[in-house]
């Protein structure tokens, strides 16, 4: 049991670092979605189903959707398919 928990927790940290360092914004948001999903799983393991349901609906669902919509709007504004972010490199 502890093994599973540790695995999930380390995956959480990995996701967090990856989403911060990832260059493409779309990928960063997808990784963030995975992070939220794992987080809700962990809360389920911690015997808090209320939190797990809410996090799955709000964190993984709603927040990521808002991110995607914003990116879509921004890409539309730009008139280009490529990602933003790299311009400063």
């Amino acid at each position: 049991m502890i093994g599973l928990e540790l695995l999930l927790l380390i995956f959480l940290v990995f996701c967090a670092i990856a989403t911060v360092l990832c260059k493409r914004l779309v990928s960063a948001i997808i990784i963030f979605m995975a992070y939220s999903a794992v987080m809700s799983l962990i809360w389920f393991l911690l015997q808090s189903p209320d939190l797990a349901i809410t996090e799955a609906a709000v964190g993984a669902g709603m927040t990521s959707l808002l991110f995607f919509l914003t990116l879509q709007r921004i890409n539309q504004l730009k008139g280009l398919e490529q990602d933003e972010d790299n311009t400063k490199q």
Binding site: P49, T54, T70, R73
Partner: protein, 339 residues
């Protein structure tokens, strides 16, 4: 704002922006006051380190009266260098500056992360152990919620009982945050008299699948809201699920079907009335509780749908607020055609 140039590097954009502004100021009609003000700004540039604020302005006035014009005004404009070359130079300079900043950012981030982790690690070591049965957090407060919550609130789910009965004032504040955020996005993103967005419907498979899926999601959301005091869930999670269902419906049905029924005005009205109902119910119970008037709401038998006094309507109100807010966020964030 058209940005369909081939090279959309950031510095190109800055460059373009800068040159545009120069052109504007050159074309502008000669306005003596504006010119004077411009001169003053140049004076500021030249004398940044000598004098300050309003005092500097007074000195500037004095100097001008005395006819002490500063020859150093134009030191930063070299007319012999062609415009283009100068711009290129400028952009190189900016790039270097940004690069330097970026390097600084990385070092600082790693450093601050390490410091925070170190300090908080020491703190965490001294905290009560994880899962400890004798943790200080498990005191008489939690005990009463768990032991007497069922009789006192009529809720089987202790968390719902706690947030809607014991600590209801916090939950009220939280609904207000949500409402404030909805109104804020409305204020920031909506343009008046926006035409109804005409989007094409999603593709066939998605439509077919979601036609079967949608009623189930709505049913599940309603269940989570209505049985919030009996099983896991409640207004917040159920409201979020219902909001997701609304968004899915609007995506699948396309062509503004959902928007026609749920106009933004109606959504706002629903939110307002739910919030007002919530406030009315809670102020009733705050008032009667604090003044010891009695008039308690019958709690019913714990475990049934119609039990727990105000819990069911409160959950319903919260669910409506959350669902409407989520839907409002979605309608405001969806790309529109004018862009």
């Amino acid at each position: 704002m058209k940005t369909t140039q081939n090279n959309n590097s950031l510095f190109r954009r800055i460059l373009q922006w800068a040159s545009e502004s120069e052109k504007e100021s050159a074309d502008a009609p000669e306005d003596p006051e504006r010119q004077e003000f411009q001169e003053y700004l140049e004076y500021i540039d030249a004398h940044d380190y000598i004098e300050f604020g309003a005092y500097r302005y007074m000195r500037y006035q004095q100097r001008k009266e005395l006819g002490l014009d500063e020859p150093t005004f134009h030191h930063h404009i070299e007319p012999s260098i062609p415009q283009k070359k100068q711009n290129v130079k400028k952009s190189h300079h900016k790039q270097g500056l940004l690069r330097k900043q970026l390097g600084w950012y990385r070092i600082a981030s790693v450093f601050i992360t390490c410091v925070i982790i170190l300090i908080l690690c020491l703190v965490v070591m001294e905290l009560p152990k994880f899962g400890d049965l004798n943790a200080p957090a498990l005191n008489e407060v939690a005990q009463r919620y768990l032991q007497q919550g069922r009789e006192e609130t009529g809720a089987v789910n202790a968390i719902t009982g706690m947030i809607l009965e014991y600590r209801a004032f916090d939950t009220f504040g939280e609904s207000v945050v949500l409402f404030a955020a909805a109104i804020s996005t409305l204020l920031l993103l909506r343009t008046p008299n926006q035409p109804l967005k005409q989007r094409k419907a999603g593709d066939e498979i998605l439509t077919m699948v979601s036609k079967y899926l949608l009623p189930m999601i709505i049913l599940f959301g309603c269940y989570v809201v209505l049985y919030g005091h009996i099983s896991p869930g409640g207004g917040f999670s159920g409201g979020a699920i219902l909001g997701a269902a609304l968004i899915l419906a609007s995506l699948v049905l396309g062509a503004g079907e959902v928007e026609r029924v749920l106009t933004s005005k109606r959504v706002t009205y629903i939110t307002v009335f739910s919030l007002l109902t919530y406030a009315a119910m809670k102020s009733y119970s705050f008032y009667t509780g604090a003044n010891h008037v009695g008039w308690a709401i019958p709690k019913g038998e714990a475990g049934h749908l119609f039990s727990g006094g105000f819990l069911l309507p409160l959950n319903l109100c919260v669910g409506l607020i959350v669902a409407c807010t989520m839907y409002t966020f979605y309608t405001l964030f969806i790309p529109t055609e004018e862009e």
